[in-house]
Chain length 313, copies 2
């Protein structure tokens, strides 16, 4: 009942919201990928941290899953007039987040401190931390060259063929304090249904994380973001294929082999249960699609029940 | 017919627009006060440079004279939600200007380079430069303490009683290259109708400026921002009174004594002409009120005619 949830952006944020609805702030620590972070116009943008933040704060755009609902783009439009590239769609309200973050970082605060301040300002009580306070940047090695992550992801809409993913800086990064602490004192670790290659891999690439998970004393549970051979959103399926992995929940599960006890797969994928078992994980077949807030709460409850730590709240 | 115009914000920008309408880019160099500059949220804001820019670019809010017409304030509102002070009303479009400026300054560009880039992006062809690339900050010594300029001007709405004005950093500042060059190669110097204490004094406080003006080989002309004993806008009248000066065009003229040949005063103030003459300046009485763009062009033409450099265009 004391949970550490690892998350990327939209998919992960959905389960985080469910977990936050059924667990008290003391019982949930969320740790978020920062490999997607990038500077635009000198402003430090942390897309996954912000997607989780806006989701937990009830501000997220329900159609995109990222950004703020009702967002406007006047600043971006004017940046364009001033000759700047504007392919990364930063909204006016979102811009305020990056302005505050950048200013605090420049004043010497850590990304963890900045994140806590931002989340608290928006009324989020559950603790959320970046995977690291150090600079890690995911880069896609593609058929058109090595691309900054957002250049690959947003500017080129994931169209280039990916040959490899590298996490620049991860070799010398340290886990954030909250992450390190949670790995030693929490009883459940949840891999949220985020992209295993783009969201989870950078987290796992931070030195010490994999070994800490291998010696984690509690239960480790993953939720597949691939359902029926398709990614619920984003390029996970395309990437699995390009990198020569199974485009199925099995391909995802293989990524967690050796660092995961229980693997939750969708009803649609029940025929993969034996393969999951053969990877050393207990397969649990449920409906994993989260459209409504109730779906998110239901899946969170299942995750906790499966972990034997169900909360009746 | 080769003009250097010195300007502060709104009042100065009006005459600058008139001058830009009748002079080619080669024949007009505008130099703007930066004593009002301040950092908000880590962003470098240059209010006077931006007021002149938006005015020349045709973007200025016609009601306030500063800011961009049709401006929105979503970023500022969200900054407030994130716990930041929001008394300085930065709009969404305006924010883009500060973001680009700050980013370029952090990359090592000078404020002059940044200013040129911003103006050109918005289609302004006439060259405009800051008075200096160095940091000068106007501070108001008041009955409630020494205040940053914008804190005095915007947050406290000029209400505190000013005992002195200081221009922090001006002692070690250097004129911008464009300013220095214009002082040596232009044939007319115009003090636009800006606040003599807040807009012109910081410019004159940059080392070398006063002596360069004293040895300026062309004609120097000032336009009074005080008409009928009242400031056309802003706290000029209140400040003149608080600092023990005449609250009239004579009080303004006294500030330019020894560094100005011709002083343009409004029809309403014609009774002050002799006092102006006794200060060593040639008084020229005209209608100085600039409401419409035609008013601005007309006054610019008068200034140029008075300088003997009339353009028939």
């Amino acid at each position: 009942m004391s949970v550490l949830a690892l998350a990327g952006g939209v998919g992960g944020a959905k389960l985080c919201l469910g977990l936050a609805r059924v667990l008290s702030p003391d019982d949930l620590q969320i740790v978020v990928n920062t490999g997607d972070d990038e500077e635009f116009y000198g402003l430090h943008v942390s897309p996954d941290l912000d997607t989780v933040m806006y989701t937990l704060a009830g501000l997220a755009n329900p159609y995109t899953g990222w950004g703020i609902t009702g967002e406007t783009f006047a600043t971006l439009e004017h940046l364009g007039k001033l000759g700047e590239d504007t392919w990364f769609g930063l909204g006016d309200r979102d811009m305020a987040t990056h302005i505050v973050r950048t200013n605090m970082l420049r004043q010497g605060k850590s990304l963890s401190e900045v994140t806590s301040r931002l989340y608290r300002s928006l009324g989020v009580e559950h603790p959320v931390a970046p995977m690291t306070d150090d600079r890690v940047r995911t880069k896609a090695v593609t058929n058109i060259g090595t691309l900054e992550f957002q250049t690959y992801f947003v500017k080129h809409r994931c169209e280039p063929v990916v040959r490899d993913l590298v996490f620049d800086g991860s070799g010398s990064a340290s886990m954030s304090e909250a992450f390190s602490k949670a790995l030693s004192d929490r009883s459940v670790l949840v891999y949220c249904p985020s992209n295993p290659l783009l969201s989870m891999a950078p987290i796992l690439a931070v030195p010490g994380v994999e070994s800490a998970i291998k010696s984690f004393s509690g239960v480790t549970i993953a939720v597949s973001p691939i359902v029926g051979g398709k990614a619920l959103r984003g390029p996970a399926a395309k990437l699995l294929e390009e990198l020569g992995e199974d485009v199925s929940c099995v391909g995802v599960a293989r990524r967690y082999s050796g660092i995961c006890d229980v693997f939750i797969l969708d009803d649609l994928d029940r025929h993969h249960a034996d393969e999951i078992r053969s990877l050393g994980m207990v397969p649990v077949v449920v409906d994993t699609i989260m459209n409504t807030e109730q779906d998110k709460i239901d899946l969170a409850r299942i995750v906790l029940e499966v972990a034997g730590v169900a909360h009746a709240r």
